[in-house]
Symmetry: C3
Subunit: 159 residues, 3 copies
């Protein structure tokens, strides 16, 4: 029997070592998700667990590719946790339309796609075929609170 998306979400959470059960708080004067029809827009997520940003610094300098992939997974799990908060479960996801992956990069670090693979891996692991998505990954100069990675997401829900 195939595992439910929720079970797979918790399996990934255990691998990563966090529960993602608490409320996802955001820092500023905005909201973590806005639904318009069946489209759910999710704000940019940094690899924060409670009040701690778990991975900070430039990838390719202070931070390795592996640590950055872990950060990308954390961001993506946070985005999915926001989705669960908004819609009650992961069962209403029809498609993931787009993710943007911003990587806090060293001057000569060019593996932004490989970092973003961490995010993509989580989406496939949790959502299966519905996790197929378009992606844009770029290397930025800094991120809020010095985070190593930031991921935002646009999801289509079942009507």
């Amino acid at each position: 029997m195939e595992l439910s998306r929720q079970s797979r979400f918790h399996a990934v959470a255990r691998q990563i070592g966090h529960t993602f059960n608490g409320e996802i708080r955001i820092g500023g004067n905005y909201v973590s998700a806005v639904r318009n029809g069946n489209d759910l827009y999710i704000s940019g997520q940094i690899p924060r667990v409670n009040d701690t940003v778990m991975v900070t610094g430039r990838v390719g300098e202070a931070v390795t590719l592996e640590q950055a992939q872990y950060a990308a997974k954390l961001c993506t799990m946070r985005a999915l946790a926001v989705l669960i908060q908004q819609t009650g479960s992961l069962d209403h996801v029809k498609k993931v339309l787009r993710i943007n992956v911003f990587v806090n990069s060293a001057a000569d670090f060019t593996q932004q796609s490989e970092v973003a693979d961490g995010a993509s891996e989580v989406l496939y692991a949790v959502l299966g075929d519905a996790g197929a998505h378009t992606r844009t990954s770029v290397g930025v100069y800094q991120l809020p609170k010095g985070a190593s990675v930031e991921v935002d997401m646009l999801v289509a829900l079942e009507p």
Copy 2:
């Protein structure tokens, strides 16, 4: 009696010290807004008033947080001015789905969220609850014409 959105737009414009009454011109070979159904996409706005970019340079070096927040407000007011040009008023805004805030950052400047709060503040001040939005803010290495901030926007209009 609650003030109209248009009144609040002009109140913010007065605080900022510009009218935003003129036509919003853009530099390149593209358009400032495209409507698809009830979704209105607005091009990235820099803090330009007529032909002058009001705030240029890296935030955290040449530019303070406060100046950058002012720049974010200018960008956001420009985006709302584009919206008024396109739809005749602010009365058709149902929701602000997403804003992206790009901050021209110093190497160690990590308050991109605080800069973006300037944009968010304008949206709430002008649109009230309809101004709730998702947000992604990142620190970039340069922006067109050396602008300190660039903001783009996606708005859902009433049918």
Copy 3:
């Protein structure tokens, strides 16, 4: 008689010196396009032809404005090639809603809009009025594989 979009696509391809006939492969664990209703999301494209990234390095340092504009054209043609793969032709394009143009920039390079004009020019040349689009162009610190430019796209198709 007006040339078809397909003819104009091939005319631009000849100018650029590549056919864009092969399959567009992508590097990571994601897809090159996702369709939701009539919206087609296209992943970020770098100026790659087969397995070679044709233009790499920072614009304003190793790379000139003209080379960067050429790179932006390549990225945009790749995105249109993805669109053809997905929908069979260019005839179903109703509007180009948004492009994002990320320019791998030198510290003091501020002509990101001029680079993005390369992308806009291709859209108008191939799609005519349907190529009108909103645009956000920013200067980033690095891009996947050291590419000089990356472009993503959102297109509205005819129902």
